[in-house]
């Protein structure tokens, strides 16, 4: 999946954060809305959309959305 599409899908898991807050370089864990439930949604989204399994540890090891995209692509 292209990075731009991944960013869109990532942003969809948030309810109260404007789309403009999401970019490749966004340090997503610092977003105000970020919590364990959104982390879980991201994991499920990746499973649903890409058929790939990532874990909480994977998410913790990534700083930006681009990092996460890279990790997902490598699985």
């Amino acid at each position: 999946m292209e990075l731009s599409q991944f960013i869109e899908k990532f942003a969809e898991q948030f309810d109260n954060t404007p789309k403009s807050s999401f970019a490749a370089t966004t340090d997503f864990k610092q977003l105000e809305e970020w919590d364990s439930l959104i982390s879980l949604s991201v994991i499920s989204m990746v499973d649903d959309e890409l058929g790939k399994r990532i874990t909480g540890a994977d998410i913790r090891s990534c700083a930006t959305i681009a990092d996460l995209h890279k990790l997902v692509e490598s699985k």
Partner: protein
């Protein structure tokens, strides 16, 4: 010595005994004089529990309670019991918009269907003595409280809450008591704590959570085991259909 909480002379079945609360409950019961039959899916970890038991005359049976055969096989190996503790449980975390049928089934199979069906088969096969005590490990989550991403776990425990009341009424004629324990947060293998605490941030978050407890700590497995001992002993012979909350005061709210 006078001790209404003694379990001497009692035979008790404990599920989920290969780890967590089940392991601790099994060990503490033997310290109070019970002879126990412990069961779990993992033979290595079950044996570790077995080795920790005090006294002798105990049994261990490896069983997968998610199948009919597993439950039947376990019941066959039970002699007449004075108590049963249902501690086997798992927690499947889900986000609201991504719940799969298979996840619902898995959650309910272990936490709800297995203890219900095991209870029924034990009673049917006359393995439960008059005056015996059933203890279901429930949770404050799903009965009093909610916890993020725990909606399936909550559902499975809310169902147990209802079942305990129904069974307590139905089995009272045989003088069999049915109660549940509602633990607050007790760090055991179910929480995969090792995975969670990989950074300073996470440790600090855990510390903050702990401070939210009026009694300023998480639970220890013995806190829960002691509640089980009370409910299994003759000291609680007038207690049935109740939910014993052991939670360090967290459900008091306290603004």
């Amino acid at each position: 010595m006078y001790n209404p909480f003694s379990l001497a002379g009692k035979k008790i079945l404990i599920t989920g005994a290969s780890s967590g609360l089940g392991r601790s409950i099994a060990v503490e019961c033997t310290k109070m004089g019970a002879s126990v039959l412990i069961t779990g899916r993992n033979s290595e970890r079950l044996n570790m529990t077995f080795v920790l038991l005090e006294g002798s005359g105990h049994q261990q049976v490896v069983a997968d309670l998610s199948t009919e055969e597993g439950i039947e096989n376990l019941v066959k190996q039970c002699s007449e019991l004075d108590g049963v503790v249902h501690s086997a449980g798992i927690g499947i975390l889900v986000a609201p918009q991504f719940i799969k049928r298979s996840e619902v089934e898995n959650q309910f199979n272990t936490n709800t269907f297995a203890p219900i069906l095991l209870t029924s088969l034990l009673v049917k096969n006359n393995k439960i003595k008059s005056g015996a005590s059933f203890v279901f490990l429930s949770s404050i989550v799903g009965t009093i409280f909610a916890s993020k991403a725990h909606s399936l776990y909550a559902a499975s425990k809310g169902a147990i809450d209802g079942f305990v009341k129904g069974m307590a009424l139905d089995l009272a004629r045989k003088k069999i008591r049915v109660n549940s324990i509602l633990p607050g947060l007790v760090p055991t293998e179910i929480l995969n704590m090792e995975n969670a605490l990989t950074s300073y941030d996470e440790v600090m978050k855990m510390k903050m959570k702990m401070k939210m407890y009026p009694l300023q700590r998480f639970g220890r497995t013995e806190d829960i085991a002691n509640g089980a001992i009370y409910l299994l002993s003759d000291a609680s012979s007038w207690v049935t259909g109740s939910a014993l909350k052991i939670d360090g005061g967290i459900t008091l709210g306290g603004i």
